[in-house]
Symmetry: C2
Subunit: 297 residues, 2 copies
């Protein structure tokens, strides 16, 4: 069987790699932090010259912005960036405010250079992290996967299919703690059960959205659930849960756009790791390596 239906998700989630050259970089000191669209580049250089200064880029043909060297601590940088984001929010350039902090990182295990409002992460094209959990049941007939239907009133991806539990990785929480927290909040999975979630790797991608580049690394977890367990929507983000044979989920991914884009990658990783996809299928290695197309650090 051709894996074209899976490859299209790798391509779609990595359309950012093809357009990155049209973005401006921004940096703190000599450390590149993210990519911004031309309108934001112009806005930041004109309206906030005490925070951002223009510099020539190394290895990138467009001009870059550098954060002022006077902002020499993470706190000072966070305060200056927060002030800018508040102004952009007030004039409508920045929507979907979450009141949640994302760190500006060069790698997941590096020290945060600053904190920014989560809604600005894509505008600033910084690397962001998340936890995605494949909740599954082993039955005699094979594996079944729990799938959520997102609430139709959610601002992002309303009504799309989703993992049983998934969430962005905020500052100050370990991925494992975040898994337990999100399991409780999104699907009423008790702590003892959630703690069984097993880290199994990661997927990374660079996706262009209207607001900018979404440069994500998603930590993938497998959570084997008892046959008797039923997840329950808790925080209003999920409309309903259903349990589907893995084959049916694979068909939905290969043939439809029903899942939220990035969930496709994490489920394809599950299909690879559980032997549902096989080396004999043309394009197999392209799928395996394509799941790490983004900057995975």
């Amino acid at each position: 069987m051709s894996l074209q239906g899976y490859h299209r998700w790798i391509d779609k989630c990595n359309n950012g790699l093809r357009v990155q050259h049209a973005y401006h970089q921004w940096s703190i000191g000599s450390t590149p932090c993210g990519f911004i669209q031309p309108w934001l580049f112009q806005r930041l250089r004109k309206d906030f010259p005490s925070v951002f200064t223009v510099k020539q880029s190394e290895g990138h043909h467009l001009e870059s912005l550098a954060l002022s060297e006077e902002l020499d601590t993470p706190d000072k940088r966070s305060t200056a960036l927060a002030g800018i984001m508040q102004k952009l929010r007030e004039d409508g350039s920045l929507t979907g405010w979450r009141s949640e902090s994302y760190p500006v990182l060069t790698a997941f295990d590096s020290e945060p250079l600053a904190l920014v409002e989560r809604a600005a992460a894509v505008h600033l094209g910084i690397k962001a992290y998340g936890v995605h959990i494949n909740g599954y049941v082993r039955r005699g007939s094979g594996i079944e996967l729990w799938v959520a239907r997102r609430s139709r009133s959610k601002p992002t991806w309303p009504g799309k299919l989703d993992h049983i539990v998934a969430g962005g990785q905020p500052h100050g929480l370990s991925p494992q703690e975040n898994v337990v927290k999100e399991c409780q909040e999104e699907a009423s999975i008790p702590r003892e059960l959630a703690q069984r979630a097993q880290s199994v790797g990661a997927v990374s991608y660079s996706s262009e959205q209207a607001e900018g580049l979404k440069r994500d690394v998603l930590f993938c977890y497998d959570l084997e659930l008892p046959d008797s367990f039923e997840p329950q929507p808790q925080d209003g983000e999920v409309e309903s849960f259903q349990r589907l044979p893995l084959k049916d989920v694979a068909d939905i991914i290969a043939q439809t756009d029903d899942f939220k884009d990035n969930c496709n990658l994490v489920i394809i990783s599950f299909l690879v790791r559980h032997g549902f996809l096989k080396p004999e299928q043309p394009g197999y290695l392209g799928v395996v390596s394509g799941l790490l197309s983004g900057d995975c650090s």
Copy 2:
């Protein structure tokens, strides 16, 4: 816990990436096929001008060799290359003859451009493939991994620790068929049991050996074995088998050089996929992405 002990295997198995610029490329038509050391470049251009001609490289600073355009079928190319390899064998430049054919491929699912003797794969720096199987047992106390000790009379890696079963991927056999065959030959694992081996992804690397660049993609398989099963050496390649708690195997990898180099990568993949390594450990994402450092296609 630092993952430095694992990172060193990713670095060691990918030392080829750092020296590749000192190799000459060779191609069939416009298709790059591999990398050769300067002595072999000189030898081929001087002694076999009807087979190889010199051309300027695109994107590579050293001169390249191109196979003669008159060799316009895989059969003709295979015959011409076999003649050269036989001459190199006779004068001692090529040792370890296996009488086994490896295909010259641009990607695993592409049509072979030629077949070459397996012993020449590293000299010619072509991409090669293998199957590596982690044979494990689930016990109440956790996972235990079956580990082989290679025969001390083996020409390659004598006495080193190895997977329960692993083998190169020859022409004309599917990876799954190869798994079943190698399981029987190396560990006396019956077909019905071997067929349960589950494909779980791949690792890729580029390793410099004395003879050239070993540019491998290893298809990884997990094979859960019954507690009662004991592998038996069959073809003289294995001295003995032992079953070790996963933690002990992880310590061997992190702290010693006991395993054959590339086995470390496949077991590290197992440690990632089974949650033994965790996102909270500094260097986790470097390990995850580092397992695919080579050209994985």
